[in-house]
Every structure is written in structure tokens, then in C-alpha cells.
Amino acid sequence: MTISLLLLLIFILTATGYVIGRARVAKMRNQVDRSERPHSLPRYYGYMVAIYTALPALVVIILWIFFESTVLTGLVSKQLPADTQALPQGQLNLILNDIKNIAVGNMSQSTADPVRTAAADHFSRLLDNSQWARNILAILVALLGMFFGYRSIHKDQRARVFVERAIMIFLIACSSLAILTTVGIVFSVLFESLRFFDKVPFSEFAFGLHWSPQTAIRTDQVGSSGSFGAVPIFAGTLLISAIAMLVAVPFGLMSAIYLAEYASPTARAWIKPLLEILAGIPTVVYGFFAALTMAPLMRNVGEAIGLTVASESALAAGLVMGIMIIPFVSSLSDDVITAVPQAMRDGSLGLGATKSETIKNVVIPAALPGIVGGVLLAVSRAIGETMIVVMAAGLAANLTINPLEAVTTVTVQIVTLLTGDQAFDSPKTLAAFALGLLLFITTLILNIIALRTVRKYREQYE
């Protein structure tokens, strides 16, 4: 019996629980004596029995799935011959993997040796037993729960309160998921990063000027042993982000000013959604455009005026990224500019200032904190942007501030280090998590500062 069939069965039991729970109370409702009538509407008693049926059974299933593989693996490895058991952990894991693959049928039996085949038989028997045990236990628990819920129905029982409390717990759990996600992110990058800093000292990572994460597969191989100085990567990230902001801030800000102060309502109604299309285009499309159209264009223009432009220049990637961020800057700035009270504009216009003077001397200074907050959010976006740089920026870590050369970024390195097959605990893959930790911390700080500024600014005028 597969898991989906089991879930279907549990669902049917739950529905049955609802029906019988409801039916039991429905009879009591017609009592003439009001004090003899049940506390809640019949359907709440139905929901109550349903909850008693489904919840414990689901908990059993989830726990079972959680521990099944560990327990089974332990049992199988105990059955293996002694010399196999004595193998180092890594090899033992490989053998166990093979056994599982044979048992599930992903690997043909004929190619495997008899030890593995026997173990695989054992494993699949265990798996079979375990599934039967799981199914029987889950159904038993569901039936018991249903029985208990049904028996507990009583006219004074506050079924609605019970059900509402259960729903409240669900709501609170869902909203706490945000915290869980953050904790998950922090832990997942932190642990791997700590393991990385065990192998590579933090000072080398933070101040080293040379980045070449290729480690030789065998120790006797010729080749670099891998060096993890991340300064060129930070420099590259900053360079590309700076180029992007040089494009996005002036264009975004001027568009926002025009839209908020000059454009007619009709023009605004048309232009704003059009600009927002730019923000809705997937970044992989921008990446394709940057690599295929922008980069060759840059190179040709550079050649025409006598400059050598690398085919994966920071300029092309930064430019396209800047264009992507324009709507981000413009819509955030638009919000804060329109939030500036009209009275301030009227005062300035009444003194004889032109509209542009009013904007430059009154509106922008008043809106500045909000605009700065928006720009900071945009910077955090530029730093974390991945696909454009993966497709259009380079892989080699050059330490340069020349925008015509190829540089690499934190996100490019994370992607290149983690795509493709390699041992999970090599410094190379762990380095990706260290970079991820850094990226997360940087963007988190930028976001917190930006959100604080924007919030304070809003409160000032509300």
C-alpha cells in the first residue's frame, strides 16, 4: 500500500468521523428543554471528531517517515559481514546506497555482488514490513482517535471552542514559519561555513587576494591546492553593483519624479504598469540578453573607439542589471515622493519657486530618507542578483576596478561551486556556503537599515 493510498484512507476515515460526530449531536438538537441541547452547532462536533481522527494518525505517519530510513539503514548494516562493517564510513555509505538502489530496482541485480544482493533482499523485506507496520499503526491510531472523539461527545462539551483553538494553533504555527525559515537559513549556512573555516582560516578568506577554488582530486595530482582569498570576489560584486546603481538611481529617480510631479493621470496610469513589466521579466531573460546582445554590443563599441572590452565585461552585466533595477527604484521613490504633503509644495510654489526648484529644494530633501531607504534595498537586490551575472559576468576572479574587464561575483561563485557533482564536504563546496553566509548577512543588514529608514519616514508624515 503506497503512502498516497494510506493518506486517502485516512482522509476517508476523517470524513467518516465528521459524519458520525455530526449525526450524534443532530439528534440532541431537537430537545424541547433548552438546557438539554448541545453547546455548539452539530458540525463543530463533526469537526472535533475529524480532528481526533486525522491529527494523531498524521503525526504517526510523519514520525515514521522521519525515522524509517535511519532505523532501516542501521538494521541492514548490522547484517552485513564483519569485514564490510569495518570499512570506513564513506565506503560503507556507498555500499548502503547501492543496496538501497538494488532494493528499489534502480540498479540491476546481475551487476552487483552476492553480499549486496543478499543485503538488498534483506532491506526490501524490512522495507516491506516497515510499510505494513506503518499502515496498520496509522489506521489503528486513526480508528482509536475516532472512537475517543466520538465517545467524548457530550451535550455540555464546548466543541466550537475546541475546534477554534485547534485552528488558532494552526494559524500561529503558519505565521511562525517565517521565523523558522530565517532560523533554517542561518543554521544551514552557518554550520557549513564553520566547517569551511575549520579548513581555511577566516583571515585568509577575508583578506586573501587570490581566489582559485579548484582543488586537485587526488593529492598527488599536479595543480593548485585551492586558495580561498575572497577579496577579488567582493571587489567584483561591488564593481558590478556600483555600475548597476549608476544606471538605476538616476533613471529610476528621474522617472519617479516625472511620474509623481509632471505626468498627467492618464499618462501615469499607462507608464507605471509598463515600467513594472521591466521588474516582472525573469532575470534569466535579462541574463540571456546581456550575454547575447549587450556584451557583443559593448565589445563592438569598444573596438570602434579603440578600447579592448572583455567579452564578459563587468560593464555589460552591470548595465543590464541596472536596467532591471530601474522600476524597483522608481516605484519605491514614487511612493515616498507622493507621500510628501502637498502643503510643502504649495508653500514653495507660493513663494515664486518654479516646479523644478520646488522639487529640488523642498520635495527631494523631504523625501530623502525614504529615497535612501529605497536605494539601499536596490543595492541589496543588486548584490544578491544571480542569473544576470552567472550568464554575463566572468568566472575568473580578477582584482580590478576596470569595468571593461571580466570580474566575478559572490553569487556566480556560489552557483559554479555548487552545480555539478562533487563530494559535499570538500572545501570547494563549503566555500559556497561561506559566501552564502556573507551574502545573507550583508543583505540582511542592508534590508534592516533600509526598512527602518522607510518606516520612520512614513511615520513622520502619516
Binding site: 505565521s175 517565517a178 534569466v284 550575454a291
Partner: protein, 441 residues
């Protein structure tokens, strides 16, 4: 005009005033010029952004539209059992394994009997796509009685012929510099004059999975992968996000815990998507041992990523329901939860759905976190379950963009066009929902 300034007579003062007004008058022109210039800058900024948008869409459309057609060539294929390597009464398993490419090659040689040299033969064989044999296989299996006869079939041509027919090959280049040679052009032109070449709608593009041959590559696998991933995302993120929004907006007391949750949600909305990919890799794959490259894991990661978006817009929708609705229901004796479930939620639903669609559109275009969890593998089969290895449309685009064959440039652009079409559709539905159900209280 105070008298406290005894210095300066009335005339002096009037000259000073004239001076000021003269200064103002003299500068007015300049100031107006500055005003116009400022306004122009604003207009230029907007026009530049919009023209970039136009440029992006136009270049991609120009590159992508040829991918929607495929050139076919008419061939007289002789299906004799010898060439195919078949017995007298072949069963299906034999038919599956028969040598169709041999039959195609033979008929190509018959069409151009003067090709004798080995090198020329090789060039000739390249006219037909490697996928041609599968088309022929399908036709033969459908009608095995044709074996031994001559069959007239239309077969897809190879990548180079395809590019040539679409005018992408620059014929003026010296022969050595292009992959498509002069003798091949000659063959194609002679076939064309016999009306044996035709361009048709490229159904392969929508009916096949990924392939290493550009003319055989399709987006069906990626589309199904995207669909499965988005279903997982929607099933997980919609109920959780609505529950979270309802709690935070309707029930949560103002205390440190709820403040923390709010700050967290706002921050998560701005965390780079690749970090979610790292989370998925470390937690779902390395800790929970879920299968790599599976839509299940992709959906889990994407739903964590879209949750903040949906929560924030759902809260806005809940906030816009006026308190009088709640008061009326409470006054009639409903419990707080009944008020929310029976009255507030249905009224806020259009806004919540709009936010959900926008969140889904965001998930649809996301690539980076999916690279982290291994959805970047080369997968030919069309996935059918959430645990099958799969890829999604944006990742497919990323993979094709890296390939050197010229045919993949148009495939990539065409896949982008399909992706953008879906995004436009989703956003249009969101706008429609908002327009149709928006209520002014």
C-alpha cells in the same frame, strides 16, 4: 515699510526693489529653461527605460520566432527488410530496433546518385535530422504492412539546413568559414525547385523533451516540470500564507513575538533568492534526503520564497475590509473566528488571489534557487510525478543559452517567448481579478 531703518530714502529703496525685480526678471528665462530641462530629463529617463523594454522584447522575438517553424524534406524511403534488418514477420520489439537511419541514408543516396565520395556522403546524410529516424519508426510501427514498399514521407531536416532555410546562414561568407557547405546548398536548392522542401509549424518544440540536437529539442519536459513545481508551490504556500496573514492581521496581539514575525517576513521578502537555494540544498536534500532535481524540492524552496510576497499582499487585502463588517457579524453573536472565516476572508479573497498569482508569477520566473537543488541536470524524459527528476522552463533557458550550436539561440529565444507569454497571462488574470472584484467601501 518700517521706519526703523532710517538709512536710505524712499528713492533708494525703490531702486533696490527695481533691482530685485530686474534680477528676478533677468533670471526668469534661465529658470524656465532649467525647468524645461529638468522636465525633459524625467521624460528621457522614462523613454529610455521603455525603449529598453521594447528593445528586449523585439530582439528576443526576432531571434525566437524562427524556432516556431521547422523545415521538412520529402523523401521516397524504400522500406526493404534487408536495409532495415528485419525478418519476414517482425514483431514490435524488432520494429523498434530496426535500422531506420540506414533506410533514410539509402534513399538520400538514391535521390542524389552522383554523390560518391565518403566526405560528400557524410555531408549529404546531415541534411536529415537525427530525429528523422524516430519519425519514420513511428510511421512504420503504425503501418507495418508498408515494409517492402516505397513510402513518401516528410522528414525534419538537420539543424544547418534549418538555419539555411530561415536565412540565418550568411551565404556570402567564404565556404571554409561556414558549417553549411556549397554542395549542401546545391542539393537543397535542387530539392526546393522540385517542391520537396516545406516549412511547417514546429510541433516538435512543444511535443518533445530536451535534446542535444537543436532541431529535436523541445520544451515539453520543462513545461511539465514547471507545472508540477508550481502546483507544489501553490498547494503549500497558499494555505500557509493565508493562515499567517489572517493571524497577523486579525488575531495577533501586539507583542515581541508578533513584532519579530513581522520583521522576519519583511526581511525574507528581500533576501536574495539564491540563499533560499542554499537552504533547500542544506535542509531538504542533505538533511531530509529528499531526491535531487525533483519538483517536490523545487516547490518547497519556491514556496518558502513566495510566502512573504503572498502574506504581505493578503494582509493588505484583509486590512481593506472595513471594520463595520466585523462589528456587524460580532453583534449578531458570531465568534471571532466565525467572523473571519464567514465574512472577512470571502471579501478579501480577490485581493488575496491577486497577490497569490503575482507570487506564482515570481516563482515561475525564478532560476537561481533551482540551480542549487540540482534541477539543472540534462533530462530528456517528461516528468510525471513530483519526485521525478525534472527541470523547469527558466532553467531550460539557462541551459540552452550556454550551448554553442546556432540552433539553440532561436530555441532559447522561443522558450523565453513562451515563458513571457505565461507571465503576461498570469498578470493579466491578476489585473482582471483586481478590476472585476475591487470594491470601494
Amino acid at each position: 515699510m518700517s521706519n526703523s531703518e532710517p538709512t536710505g530714502s524712499a528713492t533708494e529703496r525703490s531702486t533696490a526693489m527695481r533691482n530685485t525685480s530686474e534680477i528676478v526678471k533677468a533670471s526668469v528665462k534661465k529658470r524656465y529653461a532649467r525647468e524645461t530641462r529638468f522636465r525633459l530629463f524625467g521624460l528621457i529617463a522614462i523613454l529610455a527605460s521603455l525603449s529598453f523594454l521594447a528593445m528586449l522584447i523585439i530582439t528576443i522575438s526576432i531571434k525566437g520566432y524562427p524556432a516556431f517553424t521547422q523545415t521538412f524534406m520529402q523523401l521516397e524511403v524504400i522500406l526493404d527488410a534487408d536495409t532495415l534488418g528485419l525478418d519476414e514477420n517482425p514483431d514490435v520489439s524488432q520494429l523498434l530496433k530496426a535500422n531506420y537511419s540506414g533506410a533514410i541514408k539509402k534513399s538520400l543516396l538514391q535521390t542524389f546518385p552522383d554523390v560518391k565520395k565518403r566526405k560528400d556522403k557524410k555531408a549529404l546524410y546531415k541534411l536529415i535530422s537525427k530525429g528523422g529516424q524516430y519519425d519514420l519508426q513511428k510511421k512504420v510501427i503504425a503501418a507495418p504492412e508498408l515494409i517492402g514498399q516505397t513510402m513518401t514521407v516528410w522528414l525534419p531536416v538537420g539543424d544547418d539546413v534549418n538555419s539555411y532555410m530561415k536565412g540565418i546562414v550568411d551565404v556570402n561568407l567564404p565556404e571554409k568559414k561556414r558549417r553549411f557547405k556549397d554542395n549542401q546548398i546545391g542539393w537543397i536548392e535542387s530539392l526546393k525547385s522540385d517542391n520537396r522542401i516545406s516549412q511547417r509549424f514546429n510541433r516538435t518544440f512543444f511535443e518533445r523533451g530536451d535534446s542535444r540536437e537543436p532541431e529535436m529539442a523541445g520544451i515539453k519536459g520543462a513545461l511539465f516540470g514547471t507545472m508540477l513545481t508550481l502546483v507544489v508551490t501553490l498547494v503549500l504556500s497558499f494555505p500557509i500564507a493565508v493562515a499567517a496573514a489572517v493571524y497577523l492581521e486579525e488575531f495577533a496581539p501586539r507583542n515581541r513575538w508578533t513584532d519579530l514575525i513581522e520583521v522576519n517576513i519583511n526581511n525574507l521578502a528581500a533576501v536574495p533568492s539564491i540563499v533560499f537555494g542554499l537552504l533547500g540544498l542544506a535542509v531538504f536534500i542533505n538533511f531530509f534526503h529528499l531526491p535531487r532535481s525533483a519538483p517536490l524540492v523545487g516547490g518547497l524552496v519556491l514556496s518558502l520564497m513566495t510566502l512573504p510576497t503572498i502574506i504581505i499582499s493578503s494582509r493588505a487585502a484583509l486590512k481593506s475590509v472595513p471594520p463595520s463588517i466585523r462589528d456587524a457579524a460580532l453583534g449578531l453573536g458570531a465568534s471571532k473566528l466565525q467572523v473571519v472565516i464567514h465574512h472577512v476572508l470571502p471579501l478579501a479573497m480577490p485581493g488575496i488571489l491577486t497577490g497569490t498569482i503575482i507570487g506564482m508569477a515570481q516563482a515561475l520566473g525564478e532560476t537561481a534557487p533551482l540551480l542549487m537543488i540540482g534541477m539543472v541536470a540534462f533530462i530528456v524524459d517528461v516528468p510525471t510525478a513530483v519526485t521525478d527528476p525534472a527541470t523547469v522552463l527558466p532553467v531550460q533557458i539557462f541551459q540552452w543559452a550556454d550551448l554553442p550550436e546556432k540552433g539553440f539561440v532561436e530555441k532559447t529565444s522561443a522558450a523565453i517567448m513562451v515563458l513571457l507569454a505565461f507571465l503576461i497571462l498570469m498578470n493579466a488574470v491578476a489585473v482582471y481579478l483586481r478590476r472585476k472584484f475591487e470594491r470601494k467601501w
